[in-house]
């Protein structure tokens, strides 16, 4: 990200500005029924594994919530469809001050929330202020109770000092320190969705259950775990081709995929790696992959605990793990083995050659460290994650790999929430975990997962790696606006981490989804959850 002052290109606005023409026909939004009765109306059913815990963008952190949010809400800027580049959305132009201590956004004209109220600078400012200011009347967390801070704001937006409405169309952000080079990408995250102030007035419970935004789809309602959205006929981006978008929950991937094959759903949010070859061979099904895998899976070693406080043991573990085999078998060849946490395809990835598996050398190192035959526990999660479609298989492989080198590994499985909690509290020796970045920047991998500042329980740095050398490099890169320098600093940091081997980066996992072959215009975003504004599906013949 070299240039930080950007003007929106008229070109982008062109495609999106020709909107009000399209909204004359179509059934009125908000009606749940009548999909087949209304003649040409199309319903798109998308299967996912879990329901959305919350629909308040400020407090959401998970993909299931994001899936609904990105379709109901807009952000000031958004990720270009199918890419991680940023383009104008509710803001059409922006400019940063030379000292990078403030930034001004100009809003799009004539945008209205689903409840009819207009989108103006005050509405935008409220959405940021309510996240920043713990005392704000729309800061819906309980004082003194965790999470007191909204999680994303607390982690990533500490530098935002104030957001103000300069005039009806202009919003200004003021920063307490120079803004990071990836600020625009942060603004495109679902957590910065612009919620209707009228909805916020209704209180926390209402916002959690009834998203009211400006986006392509309007909240239609929820029946058990099934969420219905309807097309917003007056969306500034043009009325979506799908009239009704239904998110259903099918807890197991195999069941979801079977329903896709039988035509009972139009798309599945996640595909078991072992179903992929079969899906690719089926002419009725289309498999969608993101070319670069941003989610990474790693084997965390607790550097605070014996025997992993010894670098030789950690290196031995790194040598013993057979990543190509893991990628081929546990991931069915979908994932790419990685040598460093920053996956290939992300700007700043250091092309380090990985260690080749060498059981003899690993054993020698373990003998040197007097750790042969040590009993250790490998903790893994019971639920599939985007980066670990089959955690049991990964754990089993790792266990067998490490046994070959001479470590006695026992497995322990926990449900996701308690697994994460255990690792974050350092209650583990070995643990499988992964990361899906919020923004595709090396900082979001290296600082978050390996910096010493993150090694305090509840830690994101679950390896509890505390290297001063590494910290100096990553901190310097955070402050740098020079692309070349940043790349160099990150390359050095990755080399340091590679040699210290605080964890073993295993694989990078691309997102995989599938739709029926007749669906058009469905593209998986590398960062954002699937958006359906540009997806269409032929109306059923019968």
């Amino acid at each position: 990200m070299t240039s930080i002052t950007r003007r929106a290109l008229a070109l982008v606005a062109l495609g999106l500005a020709s909107l009000p023409a399209a909204c004359g026909k179509g059934d009125p939004a908000g009606k749940g029924g009548g999909a087949s009765g209304a003649g040409g109306a199309t319903t798109f059913v998308y299967a996912r594994g879990k329901e959305s815990p919350t629909l308040d963008p400020a407090e959401a952190t998970d993909g299931e919530s994001a899936l609904v949010l990105v379709n109901v809400y807009d952000t000031l800027v958004r990720f270009k469809y199918g890419s991680s580049a940023v383009e104008p959305a509710l803001a059409v132009a922006w400019e940063a001050a030379a000292d990078r201590l403030s930034m001004t956004f100009t809003l799009r004209d004539g945008v209205r929330f689903h409840d009819g109220s207009p989108l103006d600078a005050a509405a935008v400012a409220v959405n940021f202020e309510r996240q920043r200011d713990l005392k704000h009347k729309f800061h819906f967390t309980e004082p003194g109770m965790p999470p007191e801070r909204y999680p994303y704001w607390g982690d990533m937006f500490g530098f935002v000092a104030r957001t103000t409405a300069v005039d009806v169309r202009t919003v200004r952000f003021e920063f307490s320190e120079p803004m990071p080079p990836f600020f625009l990408s942060l603004l495109a995250m679902f957590t910065n969705s612009i919620v209707s102030p009228k909805a916020l007035e209704q209180g926390a419970a209402y916002v959690k259950r009834h998203p009211v935004g400006t986006g392509a789809f309007v909240w239609g309602g929820r029946e058990n775990e099934e969420i219905t959205l309807t097309a917003n006929p007056s969306w500034w981006g043009g009325k979506p081709a799908i009239d009704r978008l239904v998110f259903v929950v099918v807890p197991e991937l195999k069941n979801a995929y079977a329903r896709l094959e039988s035509g009972q759903v139009d798309g599945v949010d996640n595909l078991a790696s072992k179903d992929v070859p079969r899906a690719k061979a089926n002419p009725k099904v289309k498999v969608h992959e993101v070319a670069t895998g941003l989610s990474v899976c790693y084997l965390a070693m607790n550097n605070d605990r014996k025997p992993f406080d010894d670098v030789r043991v950690r290196q031995a573990v790194a040598l013993a793990v057979d990543k190509p085999r893991l990628a081929a078998i546990a991931y069915e060849g979908l994932a790419t083995p990685i040598a460093t946490l920053v996956p290939p395809g992300v700007e700043g990835h250091a092309g380090l050659p990985d260690r080749a598996r060498d059981v003899k050398e690993a054993r020698r190192l373990l003998e040197e460290a007097k750790a042969v035959g040590t009993k250790v526990t490998l903790r893994y999660m019971g639920n599939p994650r985007p980066y670990a479609p089959d955690p049991g298989a990964i754990a089993a492989q790792l266990r067998d790999d490490l046994r070959d080198a001479g470590l006695e590994v026992e497995l322990r499985k926990d449900e996701w929430a308690s697994h994460l909690q255990a690792l974050q509290n350092g209650d583990h020796e070995l643990g499988i975990l992964g990361w899906t970045p919020d923004v595709p920047d090396p900082d979001n991998y290296l600082y978050v997962l390996l910096d010493k500042e993150g090694a305090v329980p509840p830690a994101n740095n679950v390896s509890f790696y505390r290297s001063e050398k590494f910290h100096a490099l990553v901190a310097a890169a955070r402050r740098s606006y020079d692309a070349g320098e940043r790349r160099r600093l990150y390359a050095d940091a990755q080399k340091v981490a590679f040699d210290d081997a605080p964890m073993v980066p295993l694989v990078a996992m691309p997102r995989v989804a599938a739709t029926s072959a007749a669906v058009e215009g469905f593209v998986l975003d590398p960062v954002s959850s699937p958006r359906f504004a540009w997806t269409s599906k032929p109306a059923k013949a019968k």
């Binding site: 079969r278 078998i329 089959d390 298989a393 754990a395 089993a396 497995l411």
Partner: protein, 283 residues
């Protein structure tokens, strides 16, 4: 005498022989799991270059699952886990249920009323749900979690059976005779009454092993049992049933059949015992 008569009846019952054979087979599988299995049951055994799951061949009698674990060896060792769970769960239920049932039946009155209402309430719970709650509360999944969950659920069944038998015996002449000779109540109960209730307990226990194995497999399948690498039939099914596939049946069919055959064996055996021990039941 009674035993001899029962045996004569049993001998003529084909269902006894079928059930007995099935149970014997499972016992043999469990006992000879070591020598009979071709590979280690709890680790990857596929060779470099072999792509798991491997179809059955001369190296892997029943193929391997997708972790590269040998299905045949896991099946054999799984028999151990299943029998262990079933027998221990019933043992637990006996250990708790028999004394409580005996007290209720022997004492009668308030103790009886309270205990029986307690069983009423326990029986009003869907046993699987109760077992799920117990297993979840017991925390870390292992075979013993399953034993606890499944065993507790069976306690009220034994309480009721023992109570009924003890009650029936309490008023019989020979019990009165025992008491009249000055034998203490406890002694009469332990030495004379309980041994006479053995037949129905035996029947219930046999049937109980079957249903314990079935419930344990269900819990294990829900992910509340031992970790994935342990050879356990319910677990093997969970691992195997991750994908809707028509091929690769060798992963799914053997453990399912093994559970069904084992449970059927115990059920048949229990039925046959009941028919043989209780002359009122006609077959």
């Amino acid at each position: 005498m009674k035993a001899a008569r029962a045996w004569r009846r049993l001998r003529r019952d084909p269902l006894f022989w079928i059930g007995g054979t099935l149970v014997l087979l499972v016992l043999l599988m469990a006992a000879l799991a070591g020598p009979l299995s071709s590979h280690a049951p709890d680790r990857r055994v596929t060779l470099e270059g072999e792509r798991a799951p491997v179809a059955p061949n001369e190296r892997y009698l029943l193929g391997t699952d997708e972790n590269g674990y040998d299905v045949w060896s896991r099946l054999l060792h799984g028999a151990r886990a299943s029998l262990l769970t079933g027998l221990c769960a019933v043992g637990l239920a006996l250990f708790v249920g028999v004394p409580l049932g005996a007290v209720a039946g022997w004492r009668g009155g308030l103790a009886d009323g309270l205990l029986m209402r307690a069983t009423d309430v326990m029986l009003a719970f869907p046993s699987v749900l109760l077992a799920i709650a117990i297993a979840a509360a017991a925390g870390r999944g292992s075979v013993w979690t399953l034993v606890l969950a499944v065993g507790v659920v069976q306690v009220p069944l034994f309480m009721r059976q023992v109570r009924a038998s003890v009650m029936a015996a309490r008023h019989e002449d020979w019990v009165t005779a025992c008491r009249a000779t000055g034998l203490s109540a406890t002694r009469t109960l332990m030495r004379h009454v309980l041994p006479n209730c053995l037949a129905p307990i035996l029947v219930l226990a046999t049937l109980g092993v079957g249903s314990a194995i079935l419930s344990a497999a269900g819990l294990s399948w829900l992910g509340l049992g031992p970790p994935a690498t342990e050879p356990e039939w319910g677990r093997m099914l969970e691992e195997g049933a991750k994908y809707m596939r028509e091929k690769e049946q060798w992963i799914l069919v053997p453990p399912g059949l093994a559970i069904a055959a084992t449970v059927l064996g115990f059920n048949l055996l229990g039925d046959a015992l009941r028919a043989a021990l209780d002359p009122r039941v006609t077959r």
